[in-house]
């Protein structure tokens, strides 16, 4: 999946969270990612930087594995399950964040919380605000596109649309470029 107008952009998430100065929220580690575990935003209070990728993958995997388990039971397919792994005062809380047909998640890691319920509520409220923020960006983008649109612009032909969808990012890559990419390896 390439980034496009229908996907959530990392810079929009950074902008949103930078504008949210809620002290309780700022005490949490927050991870926003795609269903495959690629993180688009982190507010990391607990982990080493090199652990972030692993955290994203483990969060997405735990969530997907739980969803797969839930799917064994009737009547669960259409529901959005939250995921929680917690003791009485610390834990991990994950919310599914479907947006424009794509599956994302927003998760918080909290520690030493007297009221974990309040943390979960805060995350749900933040998710709702984020949704409104993204919707507003979408409306602005639509309006801008309308203004910029040329009158009587022809829709691309089906063949042209298919060619565009099939367009490759790199038309050719040499073995030298690949070797250069793997130059990090020590005496492979």
């Amino acid at each position: 999946m390439s980034e496009g107008p229908n996907f959530i952009h990392p810079q929009d998430l950074a902008h949103f969270f930078a504008g949210h100065k809620n002290a309780d929220l700022q005490n949490l580690s927050i991870f926003f990612g795609r269903a495959d575990g690629v993180l688009l935003f982190t507010q990391n209070k607990h982990l080493l930087n090199e652990q972030e990728s692993a955290m994203g993958v483990l969060l997405a995997s735990a969530w997907q594995a739980s969803a797969a388990m839930a799917a064994f039971f009737p009547g669960t397919a259409e529901k959005e399950f939250r995921y929680s792994y917690a003791t009485s005062n610390q834990g991990i809380y994950l919310l599914p964040f479907p947006w424009q047909g794509e599956a994302y998640f927003m998760a918080a890691v909290y520690q030493a919380q007297d009221n974990p319920g309040a943390v979960k509520l805060l995350l749900r409220t933040t998710a709702q605000k984020l949704r409104e923020f993204l919707d507003s960006l979408d409306m602005i983008a639509d309006a801008t596109r309308d203004v910029k649109a040329k009158p009587k612009a022809k829709a691309p032909s089906p063949k042209a649309a298919a060619r565009s969808a099939e367009k490759r990012l790199f038309s050719n890559i040499s073995d030298e470029e690949i070797n250069q990419l793997f130059s990090f390896a020590e005496n492979p």
């Binding site: 390439s2 594995a65 367009k167 990012l169 990419l181 130059s183 990090f184």
Partner: protein, 199 residues
Amino acid sequence: MSFVNYNTKEINCKIVYYGPGLGGKTTNIQYIYQKTAPDSKGKIISLNTENERTLFFDFLPLDLGEIRGFKTRFHLYTVPGQVFYEASRKLILRGVDGIIFVADSQVERMEANLESLQGLERNLEEQTYDIEKLPLVMQWNKRDLPNISSTGDLQQALNRWQVPAFEAVATSGQGVFETLKMVSKLVLLNLKGGLQDEE
């Protein structure tokens, strides 16, 4: 599913090592981890059973450096090879960009190779992937052992698509990076999104 961020010029891709149990999938990514400079790798994650068999997956994030101005990050996964972990394998294949099929060259493991390959085809089909269009590389592992099938036999039995294949001894590293480089090249060539679309 690859992710290309045009603003930050970053590419994320997912590569899965697939194959029968005890074929050497985990050994492949352990070798890569050992041979990778510290600043190019993240934390390796292995979700194992008590006897060190893969329970869910192994995961290794690799920062490969730049290609034509794009910072490239690959996420390497292995699937659990044991037959009864089919549900886990399906989950791990979601969003895959490239596959390395690690076959065990020992004659007595041919049936396990075939069964695993059939499972791969079935799982990809269920997720509407076309195996003929997905970057796929074969690795004939354990070439140092006695009683191994010839590469011709492996090729005939397991590689009807005639995709690139490499002999390997994952324990010593032979063929490990060659296989990864090839699938990486195929994955990058397969990325959609013309540079002229960049804004």
